[in-house]
Symmetry: C2
Amino acid sequence: MPDQEGEELVERAEPGTEMEIVHLLRAVAVDLGRHSTRFAQRNGMHPTDVRALIALMDAARAGEETTAGHLGTALGLNSAGTTALVDRLERAGHVRRVRDARDRRKVTIEVDERAVALGWSHFGPLIDRAVDLLRGYDERELAAVRGFLTGMREAAV
Amino acid sequence: MPDQEGEELVERAEPGTEMEIVHLLRAVAVDLGRHSTRFAQRNGMHPTDVRALIALMDAARAGEETTAGHLGTALGLNSAGTTALVDRLERAGHVRRVRDARDRRKVTIEVDERAVALGWSHFGPLIDRAVDLLRGYDERELAAVRGFLTGMREAAV
DNA sequence: ACAAGTATCTTGCTGAGCGAGATAATAGAG
DNA sequence: CTCTATTATCTCGCTCAGCAAGATACTTGT
């Protein structure tokens, strides 16, 4: 048997029940994961590499520098694994290592512009679709979605 | 540096915007993934093993038998990887291999009752919390949540 | 029967991530 | 100002999930 692309076992609960939405949320989580994985494979990366780029871009948008150690902590890797991860990303040209001028033990990781563009070209359409959907909602509907997602985040800790 | 548990880099968009909800959804997907991973590690399993158990239980609930090949396809593994996966799960006592009586090339995988109970003890509270939350919603709010999640699933293909 | 097809398993390998410890730089006590 | 403790990253050797290729076992169509 050759290799194949993963395919969801679609499962459903009785329509209209709360359980239906619970299953739907799980399905969305799985589908988003697969969406990331596909992006990774298309660009010769591993899921962890994509998670790393997202973490780096998030921090950059929040105006924070990310050191190697920071990144490893965020991803749950130990120091050896973090070094290997940054090596891979650097070798692929997605990030640069920059020695911190103030504390020269630190290495800050900078994302290459082309990696950012690559990410947008893949995740942009998904984000656009989400924003489109939500524009059709009134304030109470938005609050419902927000409340449900926030509640699930808190419960998943 | 010893190993550590992953921790989310919390990022936010301007409150009240659609982008806030987009980020929230992504955060939920990440948190649910981490919730699964934690379950895996606590029980000496790998993320793939948990995905496999969930796929098996989903199929069982839908009244379908799952063969080794089926399972591998659902998880995106090739046949060698699938054999190794089932070996691990069987060694841990979570599943049993049962030769199909009609077609004796096939091996159907049955989940052990204790694995089911174990899963419920971990994911049950999360599901309960979700159902609780949703019980407070009226029909229009439920439709909003359902519509958003369904739309995101379709967009993530 | 028997050739072709299908389902699973075996073998040997690659590579992500771990544990332990080396190396380099900073900070704090005296 | 130097010596020690601490912090940040990297190196080395290893384990194990998953892959490619092919072996094995069973079924089906002719």
